[in-house]
């Protein structure tokens, strides 16, 4: 065996350790994979309005406008926490289309929730069986997606958005 040959295991070891270390230090949680949908087209969906079953929204309806999609439910307390921020967004960016999906919620509860806390959304779609959430790869509520004019998902956030996240992560994209 030449010396190079004996050096190989050390080199392999070094490479493996460096990658593993970077992986560990980058704070990646293997249970929360980065969204496979990032930079992909918005999934195809079709949903009726919470207030009028005949009013239908489809994927092509949000073409050519920047859209913020938010999955929420009346039973989800973190959703309640982030809720006021959508009024803030509404006020600052009137051009942005705000689409809410009401996830696995009885219609009456959802209506009551939006009546009590106010309705910041341009359109509230019903996702009573959670199929749309499934298409979007929703892990848990709330989740927020930003879609650009070309219909591509450019940002995704899991959990309630905060003022910091709004300022540092969402606003630069708007």
């Amino acid at each position: 065996m030449s010396r190079i040959f004996i050096l190989t295991p050390l080199i392999v070891l070094l490479i493996i350790c460096i990658f593993s270390l970077v992986y560990l230090l980058s704070g990646k949680d293997p249970n929360k994979p980065p969204s496979a949908l990032l930079n992909k087209d918005v999934p195809i969906f079709e949903s009726s309005s919470l207030y009028n079953a005949k009013d239908i929204i489809k994927t092509k309806d949000i073409k050519n406008k920047k859209t913020l999609i938010n999955f929420f439910a009346s039973w989800c307390s973190p959703c309640k926490i982030e809720h006021p921020l959508f009024f803030e967004i509404r006020r600052k960016y009137p051009e942005l289309y705000l689409l809410g999906f009401n996830h696995k919620d009885p219609t009456s509860d959802a209506k009551k929730y939006l009546k009590d806390d106010g309705n910041p959304y341009d359109f509230v779609g019903v996702d009573s069986d959670g199929l749309i959430a499934l298409e979007f790869g929703v892990f848990g509520l709330p989740e927020t997606y930003l879609i650009n004019e070309d219909g591509k998902i450019i940002y995704k956030f899991m959990g309630p958005i905060t003022m910091d996240i709004l300022k540092n992560e969402i606003e630069p994209l708007l």
């Binding site: 593993s20 560990l24 293997p30």
Partner: protein, 620 residues
């Protein structure tokens, strides 16, 4: 109380090992004193482990670890196995086995005192590393800050007798390689005669046998518990147990060669370091939570970094010593000869390629995620289409290797082998052609049968058949290979010729499996101690008087709110009929039936391999 005893004895054991480690440079113990301390530290570590087990047995929820992972309703055996059914406890088990190996090694005779001491000092070093890891990042003796009367329960998937013994046996395999590692490093340092190779051989055989048993138990558990009907999934955790297993196989074979040729000492040292490095690497991948699978308990970056450091130190140290203190120049190998040595060297190379292939597939997702921030998964198709073809020439070589001579080019009674190979090929080809031809099925069957046949011919032509222990020792390599042949047949048939049938059934329906009528009798729910069970009862072959009852269903564990599937398996010698009860829809139950031909051959083959491993250990 038991937590305190456990923690203190753990600390004491580490301190003693530190003392022993320094003894090389400062204290200079006599052999007897040295051995006394090694044994004392082993007993203390054992005491520490048993204190934890005691806390589990009496459901002492003042211990945080017990509180997190146990429940007073659990049957006793699962309280005991709960000790190692969690991250902290399993690391303590790891350390415990490490010190048990040191304990037994301290009794080894006919080996130089200095050499033994140095080996044990390296063991002490490993003990310190892993001991500190436990104390700082995974302490199982933390006290619960609040008063509780009930625990949070154990992962119900782990409540299974097979799994209660799987981790200790697997760990005995992994950690056993620590001794082999220490022996090899000590051998490099002292550069003495080759006596240590014989010592290493025994220990590597022991470790390999444990590892084989542990892996087989794990996959048998997956087979009947996970309810997918398969027994090997190329799950990352399975892969990382397979890598040291293959390296260990190469090591055991290289050590066999020592008597024939001296040239492969470097290989042996390399493989010894590799085996333990892969074991530690496996521990790192599982314990850091980098890999998500049925095995990972919890992700924790600090643990990951600590154990990555241990992996780096141990492996780096090992290979660095190997680089600096390379064994003396030995005769060059002449691979042009067709003899045992060249066959084994080629096989070793194939095994290393297989290990690298598995390693690449296992860490590829990590590399990709670091570089591109994308999550990919490498699964069965990659491994099946890379590892298996690499192994095939190895299996072919294996079938003839035992009959090759050590030095010369001649093959004893070669005509007989060639003739029987041709006859066998024709038979298998005809059989495959008339049933259902499948390339992989054909190759697998031919290989398996050929290995068995060649080994049989070798036994019957080379030795006089007698029924003495010595005879079984002599034919042992052939027996081991017959085990491999049988396992290959089982693997081939159960994967290539598996048959799947789906039914939607009402209670009382009859259906047909392979011409036998099966009755779906009823659905039964019962309340057991710590779970509720739902069982579908099936009567197989009702036209026959001796019809067999099969139960398949699910268990619901209210404490952890988990459902496990319990497959119903009808074992026949030539096939398993595997029932899985699915969901109920419109009053109909979805029932999946898998017919796995010759699956029992896999377990039989493994049992033969383990038996051969034990016989080989007994041989001097």
């Amino acid at each position: 109380m038991s937590s305190l005893v456990g923690f203190l004895s753990l600390i004491f054991a580490i301190v003693i090992n530190f003392y022993l480690f320094l003894s090389r440079y400062i204290f200079k113990f006599q052999k007897q004193k040295f051995n006394f301390f090694i044994r004392l530290s082993s007993l203390l570590t054992l005491l520490s482990f048993f204190s934890l087990m005691y806390a589990y047995v009496i459901s002492d929820f003042s211990n945080y670890n017990v509180f997190q992972n146990s429940h007073s309703n659990k049957p006793l055996i699962y309280k005991i196995s709960g000790t190692w059914g969690n991250h902290e406890g399993s690391m303590l088990l790891w350390l415990c086995i490490l010190s048990i190996f040191s304990f037994f090694f301290s009794f080894t005779k006919n080996i130089e005192d200095d050499f033994q001491k140095l080996t044990l000092i390296i063991q002490a070093f490993l003990h310190i590393l892993f001991g500190l890891f436990i104390v700082f990042t995974s302490n199982p003796f933390l006290v619960n800050s609040i008063l509780v009367n009930e625990g949070l329960g154990l992962n119900p998937i782990l409540q299974d007798p097979g799994l209660a013994v799987h981790p200790p046996i697997l760990y005995a395999g992994y950690v056993g390689y620590s001794i082999v590692f220490s022996i090899a490093i000590a051998g490099l340092f002292q550069n003495t005669d080759d006596e240590w190779l014989y010592v290493a051989k025994k220990w590597s055989l022991i470790s390999w046998t444990f590892l084989t048993g542990g892996i087989a138990l794990g996959s048998y558990w997956a087979y009947y518990e996970l309810g997918w009907g398969g027994w090997w999934f190329w799950d990352p955790v399975e892969n990382i147990s397979l890598m040291p297993w293959i390296a260990g196989l190469a090591l055991v074979h290289s050590l066999m060669m020592v008597r024939g040729e001296q040239a492969i000492k470097k290989w042996i040292v390399f493989l010894s370091i590799l085996c333990f490095s892969l074991s530690v690497f496996g521990t790192f991948l599982v314990r850091s939570g980098i890999l998500t699978s049925v095995h990972s308990f919890a992700a924790d970056a600090s643990r990951g970094i600590f154990i990555l450091l241990i992996f780096f130190i141990v492996t780096g140290f090992g290979f660095l010593v190997f680089l600096l203190k390379e064994p003396k120049k030995s005769n060059a190998l002449n691979l042009l000869f067709i003899n045992k040595v060249s066959a084994l060297v080629i096989n070793n190379i194939l095994m290393i390629i297989a290990i690298l292939t598995i390693l690449l597939g296992t860490i590829y997702p990590i590399i990709i995620e670091v570089l591109y921030n994308k999550r990919i998964s490498v699964g069965g198709p990659y491994f099946n289409s890379t590892v298996i073809p690499i192994m095939i020439p190895g299996f072919l070589l294996m079938s003839i290797a035992p009959i090759l001579s050590w030095q010369t080019n001649k093959i004893k009674s070669s005509k007989k082998y060639v003739l029987s190979f041709i006859v066998l090929s024709v038979v298998v080809l005809l059989q495959s052609y008339f049933l259902n031809f499948n390339t992989w099925g054909f190759i697998g069957l031919l290989l398996g049968l050929w290995i068995i046949l060649a080994s049989m011919i070798a036994i019957f032509t080379s030795y006089k058949i007698k029924f003495s222990f010595k005879f079984f020792q002599v034919i042992n390599p052939h027996v081991a290979h017959i085990g491999v042949g049988i396992a290959i047949i089982g693997i081939t048939c159960s994967s290539v010729f598996q048959n799947e049938l789906d039914f939607n059934l009402n209670e009382g329906d009859k259906f047909n499996i392979n011409g036998k009528t099966v009755l779906f009798e009823k659905i039964e729910t019962t309340n057991e101690i710590n779970f509720q069970s739902l069982r579908g009862k099936f009567l197989f072959d009702i036209e026959n008087n001796q019809s067999k009852e099969i139960e398949a269903g699910k268990n619901y564990y209210p404490v952890s709110k988990m459902i496990t599937s319990e497959a119903g398996i009808l074992h026949q010698w030539n096939k398993d009929i595997y029932f899985i009860l699915g969901d109920q829809k419109n009053n109909e139950w979805f029932v999946k039936v898998l017919i796995n031909p010759f699956v029992s051959f896999i377990w039989l083959g493994v049992i033969i391999m383990v038996y051969a491993g034990l016989i080989a250990v007994s041989r001097r």
